[in-house]
């Protein structure tokens, strides 16, 4: 390999290594990475759960939403497992999120030692809204 080519190879390698370093350095278990789990899977994690950022999906328990000033608490379920959520995020909560709805919810945040999940983000999916569910057929 001649020296001209060498320069390009070295220059490119520097850039590639820099990007790889950024990619690895960016993977932090407690901030940038989150583990997707269901409610029952969180229960099975035990004390390991406290160190991880989790993305938990479950169904919103009907009527469980309690608002108190700017605070917001609710419960999500999966089968018999329940998880109490306390919202500590700043963003407005999504439109599909309210007490009357069958909503599938994804909360991102951390499980506290007392078993309450501190959510920084709430995403709500409307479970069956756009699926076939026509209750009033015209006969």
């Amino acid at each position: 390999m001649n020296s001209k080519k060498m320069k390009f190879v070295i220059g490119s390698l520097v850039i590639i290594v820099a990007v790889i370093v950024l990619a690895i350095q960016g993977m932090k278990e407690d901030t940038t990475m989150s583990y997707s789990k269901s409610v029952s899977e969180v229960k099975m994690l035990g004390s390991r759960a406290y160190a991880m950022t989790l993305k938990v999906n479950g169904d919103l328990k009907k009527g469980s939403i309690v608002r108190n000033n700017l605070d917001l608490d609710f419960v999500i379920t999966e089968g018999n497992s329940e998880l109490s959520i306390h919202y500590i995020g700043k963003d407005p909560i999504p439109d599909t999120f309210n007490n009357d709805m069958d909503a599938e919810v994804i909360v991102s945040g951390k499980l506290q030692q007392d078993g309450v999940f501190n959510a920084e983000r709430i995403q709500a999916k409307c479970a069956s809204k756009y699926e076939a569910d026509y209750s009033s057929p015209e006969i």
Binding site: K4, F8, G11, A23, Q25, R67, D91, I93, A132, S136
Partner: protein, 660 residues
Amino acid sequence: MADLGNILLFFLFPVSVFTALTALAAGITKRRGLLEAARRGAYAAFAVTTLAVLALEYLLVTSDFSIEYVASNTNFALPLFYKIVALWAGHNGSLLLWTWIVTIFSAIVAYQHRHKNNDLMPYVLFVMATTMVFFSILSVFISNPFQTLYQDFGNTLQEFTARDGHGLNPLLQHPAMVIHPPVLFIGYVGSVVPFAFAIAALITGKLGSGWIHTTRRWALTTWGFLAVGIILGGKWAYVELGWGGYWAWDPVENASLLPWLTSTAYLHSVMIQERKGMLKIWNMALVISTYLLAIFGTFLTRSGIVSSVHAFANSGLGPAFAVFLSMGIIFSLSLLIYRRKDLKPDEEMESLVSRESGFLFNNLLFLLATIAVLWGTMFPVISELFTGDQITVGPPWFNNIMIPIGLALLLLTGAGPLLAWRHTSVETLKRSFGWPTLGSIIFIAILFAFGIRDGWALGSFAISFFVMWTIVVEFVKGANIRKKNSGENFFLAMYMLSRKNTRRYGGYLIHAAMVVMFVGFTGNAFNTETRAEVGEGDSFQLGPYTFKALTIIDEQNDNYSSQTLEMEMYRDNRLIDTISPQKRFYFASEQPSTEVDIYSTIREDIYAVLSGMNNDGTKVIVQVYRNPFVSMVWIGAFIMGIGTLFAMLPNLRESKAGGE
């Protein structure tokens, strides 16, 4: 009408198979008659798909709720305009739109080249028709928009007509959302044209610059539509989703960014091939990747393999896409390997400090950006494969890696065009870079003195200043030289100069647009926000602004009921504006929707969201964001559109010699 639509759509399948086969036969036998037949096939595919689209439009507009797609996406009270655009509101309809655009482009290409490129055209039509075959299979057999509505009565499924439809998702009832999908789709689908020509060049071995010249406008148009489509999506997210931002590194957003990144890389590296005969394999690889990433993006959006707020629910298309994608990858890769000897460079790189080298590093950075975004997007899938845990990487990961890459690219935007081809001497470097560099350093010092301490933001502003300077100098210097020679006044000289090399000066305009957009992106470093619970008469503060709640208004119409908070916004005790964030509840879809109110100036946006009622119903919760420079993103996008159009204008030729 539904049956008619179904039949028309069904015809697309045999027609596109016929087109693909006759085109292939025309390529092998080199018979004009077969090529002519394939061309007619492309026209026919366009005709039947157009009629199928019209049939679906008819069903949508007349609210035929015996059709599942119509019932799921519209309702009687929906304004006519939204009934029409509901064509791309749902999965099946938007897939039909995709298919339709493929047939439109095939017909245009077939027509444009009816008297030329007879050697390439059979394979071009073959590739485009194969894409059509794939999408017709999806549209006809898997996601048919003409599907009738069934309801479970006891144990039997019966056809029935719903009394009213579910209505259009309220989030989609916004002008930006109305044009965002078609614009983005045109960008996605447009990538098939350069791809088809590249593959045709590989098959026939006619690897000269012919296919590149032929597809230059297509590549640029595709790129422009993709860019505008992505930004419209951001604009929609900003005004409609109500979380105060326009980009969240969501899988679906990333999916649209990926082909844009490779397509941008191609638009740059192709200049080296034209000028120097280098990077031939690389350009092929970029054109191929852009097409495959466009297909991959569609797959990602519709397969549900990575969860996203935007994504359509799992639609059963995953396996079909996986097969089509793998076939595309294997087929293109084999061709590339087969022709690798014919794609050797004519010249070699000479100096690390040269225009070529600038382009080379530009491409390396775009490639790394593509890999990074792809890696981050697919990380849930990758991690599940290797560790069993589904791990998502959040926006901070993307920012950590994309901000440095973005700034490096921005710097190259300014530096690259100043470098000479082959080699740049130290003297030239000093002359070209001296003043802009000094200017940027002074600029940072001023910003620092005004209290800006964020390192990335200072870096970004400095680079933006540097790049803008070099672009302005390019225009001014060129115009002055022309003015001296031609005697025209300065502005006419600048116009004539640009018109004589539209590609170059259009490119500079796009670079300037990128600078403006980067200033907008950098504004994110200074975002502030507050949340307050207010009743009538209460007030709160954000930065220098005071907000005073006046009234809470409840209203209702056919489509939705709404609650509006009216606030006055004061700065230094002076009334600036009234801000009225609103919350709506749509009856048909039973969905609430947040209508934000934005007070927008070039300097900053004040963005207010009504996020909810308090328990006792007397107070509301309001969230206010102060986002500096957001409008720069939209202004930049507009300039980018102008620059792209300008770059497509044919160069002006003058009778007398002069200029370039």
